[in-house]
């Protein structure tokens, strides 16, 4: 068990730190959160800088144009960029973290040439069309249909929870190419398509969340024609194609967020000392408890990343363990922020209050806590499937 970073890892950190110190002061001002074209341009601009400096696709394999960095280097990258206040992955999220790696793992040489370089260079934005109004936790029951017509699929249906749909060039889309029958598992018959977002029949409608913003969109597909050549993997094999990447979790998913939470906690303590709430022993202990919690979550991150490093990044059910604890801790953090602020917690103009609203999605998005507990119980502990 070794928590010390190797000389090579420390060199990587120092080089990255120097580059960040050099480049961050010259970034353009951050766009308003409601300015989608502005956000796209800003996020792609950052990706271009990463690309030109040799940091694009850090965790991607070298033969896909990435840097082939180790999980530990990826952890250092996420830790340092968060500490330095660098831009988030933003509009590049789906391209860099899911669609791109899927194409890299399962795409043909031609598909890799077409789609991967623009993601790495910061030229194209991808969004994700997986969930549907009637297919959330039970994703495999999705019903968006794709019917073959010559060398095209004709796609109809609707998708939901799509981030950056308004400004995306491509959508990684899960469609049903074979209707479900009683004698067939429903995760069969699904295919993975790259759908151009400017195709006729694609309608995007912003979805206003309880935070008042439109981080997500609904997508309506009305006989959208997608070339068969845009299918990655075999027809009806899309579920496996998707899971190859979804389970490719190297323990780094929440590195930046844990770093940010620890910074927020320090700021909360400073605010409590300033406004007098620090004298409340119950609140003080709650802050101390959260400090213990996030410091342990950081150690668990290092544990999971080290495990991924040893196994070459094999499926991490450990990710479910982490997400379960982290998502609740994050909600607890912002509930504690509200306690520190008192009546000011009702003022959306004050720091942390919008974050408190956003944190409500943490126990729901990317697998609800209930689904995660099923995963832990069935896949790690070996309890029988049931209801």
């Amino acid at each position: 068990m070794d928590l010390a970073y190797t000389e090579e890892e420390e060199e990587f950190r120092a080089r990255l730190r120097a580059w960040l110190a050099d480049v961050l002061p010259h970034l353009p001002p951050r766009p308003d959160p409601s300015d989608w074209p502005g956000r796209r341009a800003y996020d792609l601009g950052w990706q271009r800088r990463l690309h030109d400096a040799g940091y694009a696709g850090l965790h991607w394999p070298v033969d896909a144009g990435g840097q082939g960095a180790t999980p530990t280097q990826h952890l250092i990258y996420l830790e340092e960029t968060e500490r330095a206040g660098a831009p988030y992955v933003g509009a590049n999220f789906v391209g860099l973290l899911h669609a791109g790696p899927t194409v890299a793992a399962e795409g043909s040489p031609e598909q890799r040439r077409r789609w991967l370089p623009p993601i790495l260079r910061g030229d194209e934005v991808w969004c994700q069309g997986f969930s549907e109004p009637d297919a959330g936790s039970d994703l495999a029951s999705l019903r968006t249909r794709a019917v073959r017509d010559g060398d095209h699929y004709v796609v109809s249906g609707s998708k939901i929870w799509t981030s950056h749909a308004e400004v995306a060039d491509w959508c990684e889309l899960l469609v049903r190419t074979t209707p479900v029958t009683d004698d067939m598992p429903k995760h069969r018959g699904i295919s993975w398509l790259a759908m151009p977002m400017d195709a006729p029949g694609v309608t995007v409608r912003p979805l206003r969340t309880l935070a008042g913003s439109t981080e997500f969109a609904e997508m309506f597909l009305d006989e959208v024609r997608v070339p068969v050549g845009n299918r990655v993997g075999e027809e009806n094999d899309g579920w496996r194609v998707t899971m190859v990447t979804l389970s490719f979790e190297r323990g780094t998913a929440f590195v930046g967020e844990v770093v940010a939470c620890r910074r927020t906690l320090t700021a909360l303590a400073a605010e409590a000392r300033k406004n007098g709430r620090w004298d409340d022993a119950v609140l003080r202990r709650r802050l101390g408890r959260l400090n213990v919690e996030f410091s342990a979550l950081w150690r668990l991150t290092q544990w999971n990343v080290s495990e991924a490093q040893r196994t070459g990044g094999v499926p991490g059910t450990g990710g479910s363990v982490f997400k379960l604890r982290y998502s609740h801790a994050r909600q607890e953090l912002y509930d504690t922020a509200a306690e520190v602020l008192g009546p000011d917690s009702l003022d959306l103009g004050r720091e942390w209050n919008l974050d408190r609203l956003s944190s409500l999605s943490y126990t729901i998005a990317a697998g609800t806590s209930q689904i995660q507990r099923n995963i832990v119980a069935e896949r790690i502990l070996g309890l029988p499937k049931g209801r």
Binding site: M1, D2, L287, G288, R325
Partner: protein
Amino acid sequence: MDFQLTEDQRALRSGVRELLAGRFGREALRALADAPEPPALDRELWRDLGVAGFFALRLPERDGGVGLGLPEAVLAFEEAGRALLPGPLVATHLAAGEVEGAATGDTVVTAVDSSGLVPWLDASDVVRGDAAGAVPIRSVDPLTPLHRAPAGAPDPLATLLTAAEQLGSAARSCETAVRYARERTQFGQPIGAFQAVKHLCAQMLVRTELARSAVYAAAVTADPAEIRAAALLADEAAVQGARDCLQVHGGMGFTWEADVHLYLKRAWLRAELGPSAGAVEEEWAAAL
């Protein structure tokens, strides 16, 4: 960074597990639990532990020790916690090299904890700290006789090794609950197929794994504040884990015959040793 067990550490862990399974299996545990009080300390077992290097684990080889470090000691104590091994293990281990005969298991050493609790006072040859005027109490844990005395000095290493025992206990509770949930059938199916039961078990594992990374990291850094934080999480994982295990066992969990209560009672006891949760939370708040 390579925050995972090394080959040697894995081998050590399974070696200790095998040793304890052979020397202190379920029969030995039940014999103690069902014996008329008070429990006697098994001197032969103590010497076997000494021969195996359990107490001399961290002593340099030139002093007759095994020459290993805190991480290895933590792994050994995790196994002791998993097996619910009785006796003042932590105090004797920490006395190795300082008290004659402790390293070999010939001398049984206890200590006055910073909580004022003194385990196994009557059975011990040496007591570290001032146990003058210590009074016996009716111990909740049938396998650990207890005295109360004025508080002793805090000892982070004792806190770390006790946390390691809690970790082993938490892991064992989770495994026991899962095994029972797979075997016990109600309403025509194993109760482990019910989500209500599944989710209890999943939460047990989550608490255990968070405590594990905290305890292991504290063993690597040996930082006293990190040790106390890890102990806080390990106490929670062990106590709540035993509670949930009891719940999964239903009525059986409430019997003397099931082992569950032995884990819960020992977890309660260990949680009282060392600093209180409130003190640790205050310490970590002040550090913000």
